[in-house]
């Protein structure tokens, strides 16, 4: 057996990816950690050593706690909408009807829309309280138009982001559904199991794996939601739609406080790692890699 050699080759082949990612992690992260100990406003050079001051100011920033909460609400809200909505949609699309192909195209389309475009379109053409389509709709029913982005900023962001990710969840779950053993289903039906119990005892367990994938991949992207906020509410009003990435962005590029931005970055990395730790453990169990 040439396992020894094969192992060596394997290590050789894997190393470019590992080294690159390691470098991508360590170099910017190292610089960020270094910056986080500097008093470094790029508008008022030069930088000077300041110890943990940046961390103190970041953690006591009045925006920090709201941003943390908003990040959680955003991630969990979108996950809930897309997973539940995705399951329902997948069940629907799995039924027989005319024009399945086209409907599938319609449902998948939002996934292709870049976040900046979707944010601009939602903000202006739908949620604008004067000229937006929702405002027209409200007025048609004799109601006062809702000013979504100022009165319900976080919900508006959740809607936009969920819209973009719903197709993703739907398609994964639909593919999984299609692989469901129909004989088993029929047997259960013969035995008199109602659709509700069929769903909970057969369908849902079958979907567990794909739900895990949906949650994993989406969490990675949802923790970093930025463009939607940047384009629509700019984190406001107040801190109502500021999430952690946006707060750090604000510090580093609106206030040009590279030091405090870096401290925020380090904190964000720590938070992401905590999330990653739990998520990866859950996924590791379900994915039997």
């Amino acid at each position: 057996m040439a396992t020894q050699r094969a192992h060596k080759a394997a290590r050789l082949m894997i190393s470019p990816s590992v080294i690159l990612l390691l470098a991508w992690m360590i170099i910017p992260l190292g610089t960020t950690i270094y910056f986080s100990f500097l008093r470094y406003n790029i508008l008022t050079p030069p930088a000077s050593w300041t110890g943990f001051e940046n961390y103190y100011y970041f953690l006591t920033d009045p925006a920090f706690i709201p941003a943390l909460v908003n990040t959680l609400v955003l991630v969990l809200g979108v996950l809930a909408i897309t997973t539940i909505g995705g399951i329902l949609l997948a069940l629907l699309l799995n039924m027989e009807f005319w024009g399945q192909g086209i409907v599938r195209i319609l449902v998948i389309s939002p996934f292709f829309v870049m976040p900046t475009v979707s944010a601009l379109v939602w903000k202006n053409m739908f949620m604008n309280p004067v000229n937006g389509l929702f405002a027209h709709l409200f007025r048609a029913f004799g109601l006062q138009p809702v000013d979504f982005l100022s009165t319900l900023p976080l919900l508006s962001i959740v809607i936009m982001v969920a819209w973009a990710w719903l197709p993703f969840a739907t398609l994964i779950l639909l593919t999984a559904l299609q692989s469901l053993d129909s004989e088993q289903m029929e047997a259960a039906e013969m035995d008199g199991a109602g659709w509700l119990s069929r769903f909970f005892y057969l369908t849902l367990p079958h979907l567990t794996r794909s739900i895990t994938v949906v949650v994993l991949i989406q969490t990675i992207f949802l923790l970093a939601v930025f463009a939607e906020i940047y384009v629509t509410t700019a984190g406001g009003p107040g801190y109502a739609s500021t999430n952690i990435p946006f707060l750090i962005y604000n510090l580093s590029l609106k206030q040009f406080d590279a030091g405090m931005g870096a401290a925020g970055g380090v904190i964000a990395v720590i938070i992401a790692n905590i999330v990653a730790f739990f998520l990866m453990r859950a996924v590791g169990k379900n994915l039997e890699l």
Partner: protein, 276 residues
Amino acid sequence: MARQTTTGQRALVTLVAWGIGILISFPIIWTVLTSFKTEATAIASPPVWFNFDWTLQNYIDVNTRSDYARYFMNSVVISIGSTLLGLAIAIPAAWSMAFQPTKNTKNVLMWMLSTKMMPAVGVLVPVYLGLRSMGLLDTRTALVIIMMLMNLPIIVWMLFTYFREIPGEILEAARMDGANLRNEIIYVLTPMAVPGIASTMLLNVILAWNEAFWTLNLTTTNAAPLTAFIASFSSPQGLFYAKLSAASTMAIAPILILGWFSQKQLVRGLTFGAVK
């Protein structure tokens, strides 16, 4: 399959499914429609649906103002370039993980994925300053590399799950026949892996095409892709819904059409290989 569906049921499901399909894609449909209106029609109350004077003026206006072709090219180069580069680096890694798994494989894979959780904003300033000192600000090179790094974990992971489905015995057989490692990859593995690679590629092109943090913050003109193109239509003076719609349509159309035509591959890609 054997279950009977009556025509009536089917019609009802058709109706509901179409309704929901149109509802979900409605923002896109509306944007495309608006792009053919005049600015005044675009904000008309009540909204105008189809009976307006269709015009291409917005597309002309957008094109005179911005050089769409260049943004488009940058998007193409960045998304395809980064994906190809990523594949070149990821294929060997995924191959070895799938066929020579060690007890660390799972951890390595999870670690790779966890690098994607590092918030980009956290390292923006260092990356910006680093690129500046290398003279790489606003270059496609920089964006290709960064997009590649952003997507590498996903590429590795997807390829890994695809490769794992390839039965190892075939490789064993090839090896018995005296194929060396290189030939094994080129003649045996690759043909079997092509569908998986294609799905991976497609999904990553889309992710890179739509990425809006690095592309917005690290480019000005030379390397600016469509995400930057659209940013210049945000909140301008005067009425702009129709022009915004035209610009939006132009920004999303290429990838939308690509997505439609390669839907089957893409759906496979979207499942990240985790669903058979």
